[in-house]
């Protein structure tokens, strides 16, 4: 890699602004709507991306993908409905900020954390690509079981008010995530006789039900989703609030940096994805915070951590695709198909045979992030007004429109009913503090966890001690235990200090 090559790539990508800006706007719209994933949008637009030159197709796909990761946080902050699984953790502090009348500031935090988190990790990826590409090779199924269990420990930590309730919700979600045929023999398990569940529980109806429908049923209790004071603040939104959000972001610049790197490293692990990255970043942010008790009440760090991480994932996901030919996620898989159609052969040789295009992918991503901040930041003030709509109108729109959106992923009417079932479960969980987020983490992790666990056990012919057979795995086990124990120890120290 030479500086000249990078400079040429930056110049080329900036010249593609006429593709990047519309792709950003499309990505934002797609990201806001639950049920619309970037991979589905890219599949629908496949004829377009296959027809144009590869540089243009790449710029379009990358900009859409990054904007999608950013905008999932918008409905998560405004109405507690994450646009994607990666934004579920953003609801934890983003929505309380909205209720306090700080929706505009929360949106600006989301945008800046996403853009700068994405930009920093993309530049780091360009610099460290040869080394990062090897990282995924060290994580085998045994280590991945522990990585997945890390996700599980988050359940206990996130639901810190009552760990037992958090664990019940998480394990209930994990068991729901196991519904469907098994990986080896394809025999159905707990499908209630529905063919539609043979592929497992689809994530979009679960997400829509647990977050959107349940929240809409709860929000009926109030005239508006913001408090009375928050309403007055929201009605007087000014550009100064956007500037205040920027000031908050600048104050927490280091937070953006380190949580985005969590996203980058998790993104490199094939299959892990933005959902896990966002929750891991949130939990780590809370664990190392001087005021962990404030998390969940609407603090800037609680928005920054998941948003920086889920955009850090964007470059990480592409690392195994470019360097090893293994797509890190479903969107990366669609991109790989398009790139292969244009004659690009993925793998280590790509960097010697076609370095311009190989590094161009990440340069394109960096440029997309630069354009994104100027495109979306001015919109925060106007987006924040949505919280002033009365729940009388908002709740029916959310329930019926998101039920329709549940259809989008697989195009089954069954999924709309499933969203409603999850909505009722989510409502009960919400009213009894069983934390819908914990259920969702479980549903997301269920199939991944099973895949890695069964692979490990098959390799060891059923011996569970295989899970403690690797050095890296054992280090991860130790870190996992530390993650569980440290918050308890800290809480106990704080309690002792508080007692006179």
């Amino acid at each position: 890699m030479t500086w000249q090559l990078l400079a040429d790539q930056f110049a080329t990508q900036f010249g593609l602004w006429w593709i990047i800006i519309p792709a950003i706007l499309l990505g934002i719209i797609v990201g806001i709507l639950p049920g619309f994933s970037p991979q589905n949008t890219l599949i629908m637009l496949l004829p377009l991306t296959l027809a144009v030159p590869v540089e243009q197709a790449l710029a379009f796909m990358i900009a859409l993908y990054c904007a999608n990761h950013l905008s999932g946080g918008i409905p998560a902050i405004l109405v507690k409905i994450p646009g994607s699984g990666g934004a579920a953790a953003t609801t934890l502090d983003g929505y309380p900020m909205t209720q306090k009348g700080q929706a505009q500031q929360a949106l600006v935090l989301c945008f800046t954390a996403s853009v700068f988190g994405g930009l920093i990790t993309t530049l780091a990826t360009i610099a460290l690509l040869p080394w990062l590409s090897k990282l995924g090779l060290y994580l085998r199924s045994v280590e991945m079981v522990v990585v997945m269990l890390f996700g599980l420990t988050l359940i206990a930590v996130i639901a810190a008010k009552d760990t037992i309730k958090g664990l019940i919700a998480g394990l209930f979600g994990l068991l729901i995530g196991v519904i469907g045929t098994d990986n080896i023999y394809n025999t159905p398990r707990a499908t209630f006789g529905f063919l539609e569940l043979y592929d497992g529980v689809p994530l979009v109806p679960a997400l829509i039900g647990l977050f959107a429908i349940s929240e809409a049923l709860v929000m009926l209790e109030e005239k508006m989703i913001v408090s009375k004071e928050g309403r007055e603040r929201a009605m007087q939104t000014q550009w100064a609030d956007t500037l205040e959000g920027l000031r908050m972001s600048l104050q927490k610049w280091w937070h953006i940096v380190w949580t985005s790197f969590i996203g980058l490293f998790i993104g490199i692990v094939p299959g892990a994805g933005a959902s896990i990255a966002a929750f891991v970043a949130y939990q780590q942010s809370q664990m190392w915070s001087k005021h962990p008790e404030l998390y969940g009440t609407g603090i800037p760090e609680g928005v920054i951590a998941p948003e920086a991480a889920n955009n850090g994932v964007t470059s990480g996901t592409l690392v195994p695709m470019m360097a090893l030919g293994v797509p890190g996620g479903s969107t990366a898989a669609v991109m790989m198909i398009v790139l292969q159609y244009h004659g690009m052969i993925m793998g280590p040789r790509l960097f010697t045979t076609n370095p311009g295009l190989a590094y161009g992918v990440f340069v394109s991503m960096a440029v997309a992030y630069i354009f994104m901040i100027f495109t979306i930041l001015p919109l925060a003030r106007y987006m924040a007004r949505i919280v002033l709509i009365e729940t009388t109108y908002l709740a029916p729109i959310i329930i019926l429109v998101t039920t329709v959106a549940a259809f989008a992923e697989r195009q089954y009417l069954f999924d709309m009913g499933l969203a409603l079932v999850f909505g009722v479960i989510g409502y009960v969980a919400h009213k009894t503090s069983y934390h819908v987020t914990a259920i969702l983490i479980g549903v997301i992790l269920g199939p991944l966890f099973e895949g890695y666990l069964v692979r490990s056990l098959r390799l060891s012919e059923g011996d569970p001690m295989v899970l403690f057979s690797s050095t890296l795995g054992n280090i991860l086990w130790a870190l996992l235990v530390l993650s569980l124990v440290l918050p308890v120890v800290r809480a106990s120290i704080i309690r002792k200090k508080a007692t006179p």
């Binding site: 629908m44 037992i164 309730k165 664990l167 019940i168 919700a169 394990l171 209930f172 994990l174 068991l175 729901i176 196991v178 098994d182 990986n183 080896i184 023999y185 025999t187 159905p188 398990r189 707990a190 499908t191 209630f192 429908i213 809409a216 049923l217 009926l220 209790e221 009388t392 109108y393 709740a395 029916p396 729109i397 329930i399 019926l400 429109v401 039920t403 329709v404 259809f407 989008a408 195009q411 009417l413 709309m416 009913g417 409603l420 909505g423 009722v424 479960i425 009960v428 969980a429 009213k431 009894t432 069983y434 966890f449 099973e450 666990l453 069964v454 056990l457 098959r458 059923g462």
Partner: protein
């Protein structure tokens, strides 16, 4: 001192317990590879549910809590709206095959708004039409998704000569 209504806290554990029992039943004759994950998760879940049941039982016996389920139903004044919204959503999904997306959503929105207490016909009509028209444009016209077509979709297709 008012006792905590812990009956509502039993709903999710009992649901989880019932589902775990059904899960174990459904995998009873499968190979170990198909069972392993479910057995591990299910066993942990059952253990935790029992811990929670014991916690609730102890709280009730010590007089700190009762088995009332109030949190699920309160505030009473919105209970009708809540149940009504779920019923409208069920009716919307159930009749979608015949009404199609646009008409189904139009009627669903109009009845939901009426249920929520909106009584201005023009406002109900405008919001319902806006939502239904947006859904038509996005899902039928732009994305051509597989939503069932009803009278409106068929009429528009006929007008455009696509019937």
């Amino acid at each position: 001192l008012q006792k905590a209504p812990l009956g509502a806290d039993l709903v999710i554990p009992l649901l989880a317990l019932g589902f775990a029992a059904y899960f174990f039943f459904s995998i009873r004759e499968l190979a170990w590879e198909a069972k392993a994950n479910g057995v591990i998760i299910g066993t942990l879940l059952v253990l935790l549910v029992f811990v929670q049941l014991v916690r609730i039982a102890v709280a009730v016996m010590k007089g700190r809590g009762s088995l009332r389920t109030d949190p699920l139903w309160q505030p009473r004044e919105v209970l009708g709206k809540r149940i009504g919204m779920v019923l409208i959503a069920i009716a919307f999904i159930a009749t979608l095959k015949w009404l199609g997306l646009t008409l189904g959503l139009l009627l669903g929105m109009a009845s939901s708004l009426w249920l929520m207490g909106v009584r201005k016909p023009v406002r109900i009509a405008l919001i319902s039409l806006g939502v239904a028209a947006s859904a038509y444009l996005l899902f039928i016209a732009a994305l051509d998704s597989a939503f069932p077509h009803g009278p409106i979709e068929n009429a528009v297709a006929h007008l455009l000569g696509r019937a």
